[in-house]
């Protein structure tokens, strides 16, 4: 039997896509009929160009796709360090740079793309580089060893990668971008602005809207001349101003090329010559070039399929991108610029966290079309497949981009959803790998077996979740729901309310909850609304959300009466005011006691007496004071330097100022402060949520203290502060707590719960590492400016006052259940022995 004639397949270029083609050819049996010769210009076999930047950390071996230097299949021959100089479609031969001529049956061009270097004067000086190959990176590394400043021309995706690399190499780094924003192709203006903030915070200099006119220097680069701007010094310059397909071979052979470059191919990736194919970045299917690896891989599969006689076709690709640049997540997918007719945009921006997220949604709200994520791209893994598979959106699409990992876990991806776009792996395939059919027991094993997550890695979180969900099917899941009505934490709810600007509980529960709420979620929402809107807690429908103490602006006592605790800021009070308190107590028959918070409690007021008591207090210059509510209680003070022989600062003045500044602030739990005039600490400041202790030079600020059931000592946040800085830090600290703590979580456990603990707080409050300082201060300024005396306001509003009656139909009849006896010469509650009836003879008023 004569051996069948074997054919020869020549592949020009051994990059990512050329390698994929060979792999697929081996896996799918094409080598049964074809010998393959791969010719690669680089000295190394194919490597992971997508992860090029990690070369500096992990070295070339880690990146290699073929560490052994050859394929297992002996029918594949690899010729490296050699270029294909030309080919002749007539004779079907290729000419190599070493003079070899190889005859082919089929030729695949996989020559990739080359960085575009704009022809500015000086572009070829020593010290100018491009960023494409390991060789490029080695050269950059060598040049950086003796340099201090570097510049990258181009602020696109690759330019930022290159800037990242220069910064990692220890250079002061400038990014020069002609467009008005960074990553102009992937992100919009707002996203670009957020990106600039992140990048500048890392110490890089960003010049947008800046055109490079010349590379300065004689032999070696010295800097860049920019149009209308100061020149930028630089000893290393990296060009990253886009890429151009390497289509010269095809041009020379007379094949069709696309208008904007690239070898023109049809949907089977065949060029205008039927035995020549082109794939990857050198190819332009339908005239369009794709600068990403996933479309290239798809093209490689299509060609192998075609050579095997299959029907595969390349019909366009997902241009989604996700990357971590300088530690900043950036992702852009689908119709990121809302180009679709009628498309809606849903934006979540949090300058505090440095996060910008945008969803583009179809006009009918049912379909996700695309989006942009900056600062936190964790939702990308779920969102991108939603675009790709056209899955219907959930009812509250914004939950997909709200923080704290809501996005995803609950949003069941259908089995056919593509989880990994680089390698086209669906959820079903992953489930198969972990299920009966497969033997995988971990996400990493799944990545090995299915390739999902092995390329750009952006789908790894979803791979992990799919695997975990599979294994946790019966396992216990930690439920962080607030209550049965809201499947989210207080912080998540806080963000939901902020994003939508909700002002009514009804709207919130309708859109994000179920049922009608309860005694947990209602007060929580009331507190969130109070923090965000600074309105009156008894305004309109918010009244019924309040716990009884907030609802009646006083503390309920065991017999249904209330206590009133007039505010005495810092514990300082004039004799005249002391007398007023005594008189009010006398006139209303109230029990009085000095509290642990340096003020005086008036107990035993019937609900209907409260307004009259407040009236007396307000007229005498008091506020009724918060001993109720999750809000600031008191800022306790010692006598300080005014009197005390040890005092070094005026602790009373500061305590008064702080109490007046933060009074009324609604918070996740109550807040207490203290100020001591010296280290003897008579005000027990370190037992408070925030405590200040005077030093010779200023103030030490301590945070996270409390008494109660689990006492905690406050810890030093910053030392020797002047008063202005102290207040600024406190503003930031308290607002950050208000925004991010859980319901009923005091500052100490909240700090413990933060990743990084007190150090994290210091980064945010003192170092302003997230750049949210001014935003937090502004939020506090709004609180301070918006503060009003809620008791006085109530007195002025008949609607609110109408609530303060014993019985709606008998407002003048006191509740018979309340009675007092005398103890130590004061009135105290008489214990009730059961329901009391006044009998039917008591006349009652007609309804008003």
């Amino acid at each position: 039997m004569s051996p069948r004639h074997r054919k020869t397949l020549v592949v020009a270029g051994h990059g990512m896509v050329g390698h994929r083609l060979v792999q697929a050819a081996i896996e799918r049996g094409l080598t049964e009929t074809h010998d393959i010769v791969v010719v690669g210009e680089e000295s190394r076999p194919a490597y992971d160009r997508v992860a090029l930047t990690s070369f500096f950390e992990v070295g070339a071996d880690e990146l290699s796709f073929l560490p052994s230097g050859e394929y297992d299949d002996p029918r594949v021959r690899l010729v490296l360090g050699t270029t294909v100089d030309g080919f002749d479609p007539e004779t079907r031969t290729v000419l190599l740079s070493d003079g070899q001529v190889i005859a082919y049956d089929e030729l695949v061009l996989a020559t990739g793309a080359a960085p575009f270097v704009p022809p500015v004067p000086g572009h070829d000086l020593d010290g100018c580089f491009v960023y494409r190959t390991i060789d490029d990176l080695e050269a950059i590394r060598d040049a950086a060893a003796t340099a201090t400043v570097g510049a990258v021309i181009g602020g696109g995706l690759l330019g930022l990668e290159a800037a990242n690399a220069l910064a990692q190499l220890g250079l002061e780094t400038h990014v020069v971008e002609m467009a008005p924003r960074l990553m102009a192709v992937q992100v919009d203006d707002a996203g670009g602005a957020m990106l600039v903030r992140h990048i500048e915070k890392l110490g890089l200099h960003v010049h947008t809207g800046a055109r490079t006119e010349q590379v300065l220097g004689e032999e070696r680069v010295e800097g860049l001349a920019l149009a209308g701007e100061e020149p930028v010094p630089a000893e290393v310059v990296v060009f990253s101003a886009g890429i151009r397909p390497r289509d010269q071979l095809a041009r020379d052979a007379g094949l069709d090329v696309a208008e904007r470059g690239g070898v023109l191919v049809d949907e089977r990736c065949r060029t205008s010559d039927e035995h020549v194919w082109a794939i990857g970045e050198c190819a332009a299917p339908d005239g369009r070039m794709y600068g990403l690896v996933a479309p290239g891989y798809a093209m490689a599969e299509v060609v192998v399929d075609a050579l095997l006689g299959g029907p595969g076709a390349f019909t366009g690709a997902d241009m989604s991108t996700k990357l971590k640049l300088l530690g900043v997540d950036v992702a852009s997918f689908g119709d990121a610029f809302a180009a679709t007719d009628g498309a809606l945009e849903l934006v979540y921006a949090d300058a505090v966290q440095g996060v910008y997220k945008k969803l583009v949604i179809s006009a009918d709200g049912r379909q996700l079309l695309g989006g942009i994520l900056v600062g936190d791209a964790s939702a990308y893994g779920v969102l991108r497949p939603m675009v790709a598979s056209g899955i219907a959106l959930p009812d509250n699409p914004e939950e997909l981009i709200l923080p704290v990992g809501r996005g995803g876990a609950e949003i069941g991806l259908p089995d056919e959803a593509q989880v990994c776009s680089c390698n086209d792996v669906t959820k079903a395939q992953i489930l198969e790998a972990v299920g009966e059919g497969g033997a995988c027991d971990s996400p990493s094993c799944v990545t090995k077996c299915t390739k999902a997550g092995s390329t750009c890695g952006s789908c790894k979180p979803v791979v992990k979740r799919v695997v975990e969900e599979f294994f946790a099917a019966q396992g216990k899941v930690v439920d962080k729901s607030l209550c049965e009505h809201f499947a989210m934490t207080r912080q998540e709810l806080f963000d939901v309310v902020a994003v939508h600007g909700y002002t009514r509980f009804d709207d919130i529960i309708e859109a994000h909850g179920r049922g009608r709420g309860c005694d947990i979620c209602k007060p929580t929402v009331a507190s969130i609304l109070a923090s965000q809107l600074n309105g009156h807690v008894l305004e309109g429908p918010t009244r019924t959300l309040q716990d009884t103490n907030d609802a009646y602006l006083a503390n309920i006592q065991r017999n249904g009466t209330y206590s009133v605790v007039p505010r005495i800021p810092g514990g300082e009070i004039t004799p005249e005011k002391l007398i007023v308190i005594g008189q009010v107590a006398q006139d209303f028959g109230l029990y009085t006691k000095i509290t642990g918070g340096q003020r005086i409690d008036l107990l035993g007021a019937r609900m209907e007496q409260l307004p009259a008591i407040w009236r007396r207090l307000v007229d005498a210059g008091f506020e009724s004071g918060h001993a109720y509510g999750k809000s600031l209680r008191t800022v306790k003070s010692c006598v300080g330097s005014t009197w005390c022989r040890y005092g070094v600062q005026d602790s009373v003045q500061l305590a008064i100022d702080l109490e007046l500044r933060y009074r009324g602030l609604r918070s996740p739990h109550k807040l207490k402060g203290g100020v001591s005039g010296c280290a003897r600490e008579c005000a027990e400041a370190r037992g408070k949520d925030f405590g200040v202790i005077a030093t010779e030079k200023g103030w030490n600020l301590y945070v996270g203290g409390n008494g109660g059931a689990t006492p905690a000592h406050a810890r030093l946040l910053a030392g020797d502060l002047d008063t202005e800085t102290l207040v600024r830090y406190l503003d930031r600290f308290l607002m950050y707590y208000v925004r991010t703590a859980d319901r009923l979580q005091r500052t100490a456990p909240w700090i413990d719960s933060l990743d990084g603990g007190l150090e994290r707080v210091r980064e945010i409050v003192v170092d302003d590492a997230l750049g949210l300082g001014s935003e937090l201060e502004a939020a506090m300024a709004r609180h301070v400016d918006g503060y009003f005396d809620e008791w006085k306001e109530t007195l002025d509003d008949p609607d609110k006052l109408a609530r303060f009656v014993s019985f709606v139909n008998a407002p003048d009849t006191p509740d018979p259940h309340i009675s007092f006896r005398s103890e130590r010469e004061q009135a105290v509650p008489e214990d009730s022995s059961g329901p009391v009836s006044l009998g039917t003879t008591i006349p009652v008023g007609a309804p008003r």
Binding site: C518, D519, T548, G560, F807, V808, N809, L838, P847
Partner: protein
């Protein structure tokens, strides 16, 4: 008591207030035959009445509780220690042994009328 001016007179019922004097998901206390009764209005427009006396804390306070739902059950949480009471039956949802008396209640022409204690099992 003066019911003569009212459009509707219901025998055995006491007219206590206009329905809009009760906030949605709020409550008021009323005196009905000398007894403190808490009257609530829910989101779906229903009006319920039960004794104002919270047997757990032994205080007359239930009208001041937060109204909400547990599953399908409309309830009020005592403002004192938050025990939940089914608005329809007075049953304490946290303690099967505790139940608060409920009252018949009718709304006519925007007016709330409370009848006698309900005799139910």
């Amino acid at each position: 008591m003066s019911t003569s001016t009212d459009a509707t007179v219901l025998t055995g019922y006491t007219l206590v207030c206009r329905v809009d004097q009760i906030e949605v998901e709020g409550g008021v206390a009323a005196l009905v035959d000398g007894v403190a009764v808490a009257i609530f209005r829910t989101h779906d427009g229903n009006v319920y009445a039960m004794s104002n006396y919270d047997p757990c804390s032994r205080a007359s306070v239930l009208a001041r509780g937060i109204v909400g739902t547990r599953g399908e059950i409309p309830y009020v949480a005592s403002p004192m220690h938050k025990q939940a009471f089914d608005l329809r039956t007075g049953q304490c949802l946290d303690d099967a042994a505790v139940r608060v008396p409920t009252y018949d209640v009718r709304v006519t022409d925007g007016m709330v009328h409370v009848g006698g204690p309900r005799q139910e099992t």
